[in-house]
């Protein structure tokens, strides 16, 4: 007999002594009474209801996502309270780790800064060249982007799904399909919205598909999540020359994502699969930005040449809705 703790064992013995007198013999079979039949029927009804929820979630994702988000939102304050001590503990451990690694980090940052100065010079030169070439070609500027910054309430990732809950919803102008980015790069897309919260499907989720451009040749591909930390690249051109370390950025081709948001770098490139190491690790960012991206072709009239953030878009259906509110 295994003894765990005296308390637990004692309680089991208490339970035994309390219940053993009422306990029926092992060979006892309860009679098939009406109440037993109803009880079993109740179980079947509940299981059927759960199955119905799952089927409904597949058929009408908005409705079930809405219910799921509302339930989740109710639990949010309690969850925050419970998570706080754990967060404090992790922060304390992280602070100690940082202090011990301060010297080495300083050296690394100095080297990185020197390298970044060089890149800055290159970037300035390219920016000037870009502006000059755009003027020369009379190019249409990229679509307008409005954004909302939101706090990540919870990383709701499980074994079968990768998503995050953020504290901005319909009231703040968040809508399904909007792009979510963090300081490092792309985080995912909004898949469910309630009044003050939204669920973000991370790029590592099984259901995530993101059109991307790979490497300096800007090869078109689809970044497909597989619930691992390194999503795969699908539909690369045959015999594509992809090597480890190639940058991966979003493509605006389908009109869903703004162009050139950094996604990650190619982590492995072999015959079996090309995987990408994302810049943003799931759950690693406390704040995210939700981008309301509209391709330039949808706007009437075309925006000002400065790419104007937040300008009015006469005739745009969502603007009309906002004005009515």
């Amino acid at each position: 007999m295994v003894r765990w703790t005296t308390g637990a064992t004692a309680l089991v013995y208490v339970t035994m002594s309390r219940t053993s007198a009422d306990r029926p013999r092992p060979d006892y079979r309860p009679p098939l009474t009406a109440s037993n039949v109803f009880k079993r029927l109740g179980y079947l009804v509940l299981i059927a209801l759960a199955a119905a929820f799952m089927v409904l979630a597949k058929a009408d994702t908005r409705l079930v996502d809405g219910i799921s988000l509302e339930v989740s939102q109710v639990a949010a304050p309690l969850a925050d309270g419970l998570a706080r001590p754990v967060e404090e503990m992790v922060d304390a451990v992280e602070a100690i780790r940082r202090v011990t690694a301060l010297n080495a980090e300083n050296e690394r940052l100095r080297a990185e800064r020197d390298q970044l100065f060089q890149w800055q010079a290159v970037a300035r030169r390219l920016e000037a060249e870009n502006t000059a070439l755009r003027k020369l070609l009379n190019a249409v500027p990229d679509g307008s982007t409005l954004f909302v910054t939101a706090r990540v309430l919870a990383d709701t990732s499980g074994a079968f799904a990768r998503s995050e809950l953020v504290n901005a919803g319909e009231e703040e102008g968040v809508a399904r399909g909007q792009t979510v980015v963090a300081a490092g790069g792309l985080v995912g897309r909004v898949v469910g919205v309630s009044s003050h919260a939204a669920r973000v499907l991370l790029i590592s989720d099984l259901n995530s598909r993101v059109p991307v451009l790979v490497g300096t040749q800007r090869l078109r591909a689809i970044l497909a999540g597989d619930n691992s930390d390194q999503p795969k690249l699908l539909y690369l051109p045959p015999h594509a020359d992809v090597s480890v370390g190639d940058p991966v950025v979003t493509s605006s081709e389908a009109g869903v994502f703004p162009a050139d948001i950094p996604v990650g770098v190619v982590a492995t490139a072999d015959a079996a699969a090309v995987t990408v190491s994302p810049f943003v690790s799931p759950g690693g960012e406390p704040f995210v930005r939700i981008i309301d991206y509209r391709p330039a072709v949808l706007m009437r009239p075309p925006p000002a040449a400065d790419g104007g953030h937040g300008e009015a878009r006469p005739g745009h259906p969502e603007d009309k809705e906002r004005q009515q509110r």
Binding site: M1, V2, W4, T5, G7, A8, T9, V12, T15, M16, R18, T19, S20, R23, P24, P26, R40, G42, Y43, L46, I47, L49, A50, F53, M54, A57, K58, V64, S68, L69, V71, S72, A75, A76, L78, A79, L82, A83, V86, E87, M89, V90, A154, D155, T156, S157, G158, A159, F160, A161, R162, S163, L165, R199, L206, N207, N227, S228, S281, G283
Partner: protein
């Protein structure tokens, strides 16, 4: 008059302990946010609570309560809505059918049978999620999650036993 009211409230609070602790276990699934690497293999704590209360206080945790806790867990963890609601109800059914065999067993036997139930539940969850998404997820994660759930049994059993003492003794 006031004493009677306080007694009534006290009784109601005590009777709510099983359901409340199961709900808290479901909400606790949000806590691994602070440890992002562990989120996918966080133990399914409400499963322990459903198992425990179905054995020791089945009347205070009816199947509907297990179903509701499952819905909350699905919402909190972003699983397909209804997945764990159905699984918790099935576990409630299974345990209540085996109630007379489990009641009065030692902790080791209860732990062993829980480990089997946890493995079967999380394995079924993985299979159902695979059918739902029509794509097979990495089987290592549910395996680790089942192991984590199994190892979470002793401490949680101890805590729930303390809660049960509150429900029963007064």
């Amino acid at each position: 008059m006031a004493v009677a009211l306080v007694r009534k409230m006290d009784r109601a609070t005590r009777l709510a302990v099983p359901f409340a602790t199961t709900l808290v276990c479901a909400v606790l699934a949000k806590v691994p946010q602070a440890l992002p690497d562990l989120a996918p293999i966080a133990p399914v704590l409400p499963l322990v609570a459903v198992y425990f209360w179905t054995i020791f206080q089945p009347r205070l945790l009816p199947p509907v309560a297990a179903f509701a806790a499952g819905l909350l867990y699905d919402a909190v963890t972003g699983q397909p809505f209804g997945l764990y609601a159905g699984l918790f109800t099935a576990v409630h059914w299974l345990v209540s059918e085996q109630h007379r065999h489990l009641l009065g067993q030692t902790v080791a036997v209860l732990w062993a049978s829980f480990a089997l139930i946890a493995a079967a539940t999380i394995g079924s969850g993985w299979l159902l999620a695979a059918i739902f998404h029509w794509s097979l997820a990495d089987p290592l994660l549910p395996f680790c999650q089942a192991a984590a759930t199994g190892f979470s049994f002793p401490p949680l059993f101890w805590l729930l036993s303390r809660c049960e003492a509150v429900v029963v003794e007064r």
